[in-house]
Point group: C2
Chain length 379, copies 2
């Protein structure tokens, strides 16, 4: 078992420690495959207390990573949730031992299609086994075992991170004391699946994809950019797009009567698509969207969502945003109803924001107050 501190990242030690561990496994996946070894890239912030009772696991979203509150090594941008995690923030290294791991199937150091298959010495590519949200959670549990953390003070996540957070008490009922689920859902709907399928088809339609075997050649960046553009629309609200861009034109005063990006929203989307391909692996995008589409927590528990929560004694906090049309408030409400039916303590709030699904990543003082209050109430 190897657990190394990334030497390139030690300048970040003030904020967190970037680590990568190779666990022997095997990890039995929902698809039946035994995965071994299991690489997990993760970061920690703060110090685990004597009775290991202050650990908070943060679960990231589809294209997120372990760099929750430290500079991203490829983009040089600040961590993706510095508004929530850091000194004086609701999740605070002064009080919490914060763990954030790159999910299984991703491309920032944890095992996924871009990592080497030891059996062949080459990238797994599409030979990597298809995974589920529960598989991601099981890999995180292996990491906690390694770190000597038996029970989490809390597991916290937004979007796909919220799916993992919900899966935690369902999969390991005795290992979580509190669970925060933000802008998320207990299952992917037909529309959710449809948008992801468009993205996957865009990647697979790119001749550079080559059935996934592009690692020695040009990556399918054009297809991946289109996938990201389509997905990005679902992260924003119609009102937010109107406020941000409306029908405003680029620097030019008038329409070009051509096919350049005349409108600011076109230019913005093209930029989002291209920038994404610099930091993300196309096959990982396929695997993680598949895991999200497979996610249906009720189905994993006999078709009744309440069953998922009967064994746990965790407290729950659900937050939705009124303009989130990817995972609308109704999805959170149905989770709350299942938690009520299971007798689990739950607080729920719908926050108002013009920014749609992405609101959970943006400045949202109310969200911080809710999470802070909820975490302190259980401390």
């Amino acid at each position: 078992m190897l657990d190394t501190i990334d030497p390139d990242r030690t300048t970040d030690a003030r904020f967190g420690l970037a680590r990568r561990v190779t666990l022997p496994g095997p990890l039995r996946l929902d698809g039946g495959v035994l995965l071994s070894p299991v690489d997990i890239a993760y970061e920690t912030y703060g110090t685990l207390n004597a009775d290991a009772s202050n650990a908070v696991l943060i679960c990231h979203a589809l294209t997120g990573d372990q760099h929750v509150a430290s500079t991203h090594p490829r983009t040089g941008k600040p961590g993706w949730w510095t508004r929530m995690v850091g000194e004086g923030r609701p999740i605070d290294p002064a009080r919490h031992f914060i763990v954030c791991a790159n999910v299984l199937g991703s491309c920032m150091g944890s095992s996924g299609p871009a990592t080497i298959n030891p059996a062949t010495g080459r990238a797994w590519a599409m030979g990597f086994p298809v995974i589920t949200i529960r598989d991601m959670v099981r890999a995180q549990a292996m990491l906690l075992d390694h770190l000597g953390i038996d029970v989490l003070q809390a597991v916290v996540g937004g979007s796909m991170g919220g799916m993992q957070a919900l899966s935690w008490p369902a999969t390991f009922p005795d290992r979580v004391r509190a669970c925060v689920v933000i802008a998320s859902t207990a299952r992917h709907t037909a529309q959710n699946i449809a948008f992801h399928e468009v993205g996957r088809q865009a990647v697979m339609a790119d001749p550079n994809w080559r059935g996934g075997d592009y690692h020695d050649e040009s990556a399918p960046t054009a297809g991946l950019a289109v996938a990201r553009m389509a997905a990005h629309i679902t992260y924003l609200s119609e009102a937010g797009l109107t406020e941000k861009f409306g029908r405003r034109l680029q620097a030019r005063d008038a329409k070009s009567f051509g096919f350049d990006a005349d409108f600011q929203v076109e230019s913005y989307l093209r930029h989002q698509g291209l920038a994404f391909t610099d930091r993300f692996d196309a096959n990982s995008y396929l695997y993680i969207t598949r895991a999200m589409d497979y996610f249906d927590l009720a189905e994993e528990h006999g078709g009744l969502l309440a069953n998922a929560f009967r064994a746990t004694r965790a407290r729950f906090c659900l937050v939705s945003f009124d303009t989130d049309w990817l995972y609308p408030t109704a999805e959170s409400r149905s989770i709350v109803q299942a938690l009520n039916a299971a007798g689990a303590p739950v607080s729920f709030v719908e926050l108002s924001s013009p920014y749609g699904h992405d609101a959970f990543l943006l400045e949202a003082p109310e969200l911080n107050r809710v999470v802070d209050g909820f975490l302190r109430a259980g401390a």
Copy 2:
């Protein structure tokens, strides 16, 4: 000037006459180009009465065509609006002289990127001038001149057809007595533009697109299929998708843990994408989506939508559907407010349907009653 009855289509004469006319033009386009000649493929149903007062122009949507009530020559499917147009229907060849023309820029016989540029003897491809909704309307007016129709009893359209219907009285205030606008909008929003831009980027990312010069080689079908898939999601409601597909799997009982179409909604979308490429030209898709994105009727009239309607004496009928999130009811309502401000007579109804934007094409008895009542009231 040539006006020919398509000999391959005479078996359809019972329903309509498929015609194609080459008008000398020139047609002055909004982009400044003079287009000449102008091909218009169209169908007529019924007989123009002695004082030419019974003409109804039907305007089709983005991927529609002139075959409003006759069999599509490529797919063999019935016309796209046989529920609205035909014997005993609100628009009835027994009473009306019905005209439906393939829009400028499209690919079913009217001038567009796939037709031959007489200056080069080759397909226009991306050399075709960028067009607007108003240009489409001007081309339709040229066709009416040719047919000896000075004033329309009514112009009727849904979706992009509704944009043309709205443009008609704004552009030719004295040539329309009634205007029916269904599931449409007076301008494309940032979100509308964003979805179209994803589609255009999907087409242009396909190496077979070749800057539009694919007419002698393989067409960019993979990119066009992805574009269609993305657009198709916007035509359906979340509830409609859930009702139709939910999370139901294909024939297989269980998940494949692979990347085949596991879910019925995936298989449906893939089919929609592929089938579309058999009947539609990729460059036309670029041109027509561009025309829609450029559409902002207020902008064409000094920034105030009411100005567009001050000169006309037409009556208006607006219909929206409650689950249409592409052109939601609020868009229709703002048109109604502008019509009120302009003093134009308008009736407006929001109909309930589970099917989202596509509802206007589906069986909708209430829609038929509304259109029938409105057209008869003015007869």
